[in-house]
Symmetry: C2
Subunit: 140 residues, 2 copies
Amino acid sequence: MTPTAPPTPAQLMDQLAQAAAGYYRSFAAVAAERGLTLMQGKMLSLLRRPMPMRTLADLLACDASNVTGIVDRLEARGLVSRETAPADRRIKNVTLTEEGEDTVRQIRAELMSSLTGLEGLDEEERITFQRLLARVFPAA
Amino acid sequence: MTPTAPPTPAQLMDQLAQAAAGYYRSFAAVAAERGLTLMQGKMLSLLRRPMPMRTLADLLACDASNVTGIVDRLEARGLVSRETAPADRRIKNVTLTEEGEDTVRQIRAELMSSLTGLEGLDEEERITFQRLLARVFPAA
DNA sequence: CTCGATAGTTAAGAATGTCAAGCACTCTCG
DNA sequence: CGAGAGTGCTTGACATTCTTAACTATCGAG
């Protein structure tokens, strides 16, 4: 059906736009099932280990004042907690609670099963895909 | 540096999360340079040709009422216009104005030059990348 | 110890997301 | 034709997020 001609960088960029939109559409749907917004879900997923609010702001590409509100709501639900760092008392480390860890596990599992195409890639394709992604979007 | 072992689907999903975040970080930055929000930029980019607000809501994965507000602001800036479809007078087609077309062209160009990794892919890599993206995120 | 920088909070206003209700229009069916 | 169901868009109320600026507390360098 589709011609096998090499896509121009512009066409590739369109495909990327669609992929990124598709990813967040799935992510938002999975988060919404648990009454979480996209941002709240993103933040929980980032918290593999405790980290300062400042770091979260950088990773989420948003203002620090923004993180305050998001953590407020997650803390009110008992999914994360704030702990002042003893070494530098300005810093507050955000940590997942037990319930928060559970939620993240569920979100990850459902997201995975919702991205059906991922399971279908064989080992070599996964290597290739990861390399291409890493090249186009190098870790900041 | 990184071992060349095949990534697990879970690791690949993390890479995808990072790529999607990186894409929208660039996109939002480019849009912001023109005083546009991420959503406004997304909508403009979708308008290669006129389309009903309902369709835009589906593509942006948001509520129809949301589209009303976004189009209101873009229209107030003279970037798009609403035109009632003669065949079905319930439908309003959103169209880019001349200035809107210019803006989209600029956004696309800057986004492209901001995703530096894209230009570096040779033809074969582009084919591979596009196929992988299309497989994991099939067109809805 | 004072000064400049950093982490986090607060507050005000714009933009977006969600939900329910409403209006205009189309379509179907009797 | 005409009533009712369904669709497209708008409006209003409210929660969340984004943006900006000011403010407090703390750290670190001189």
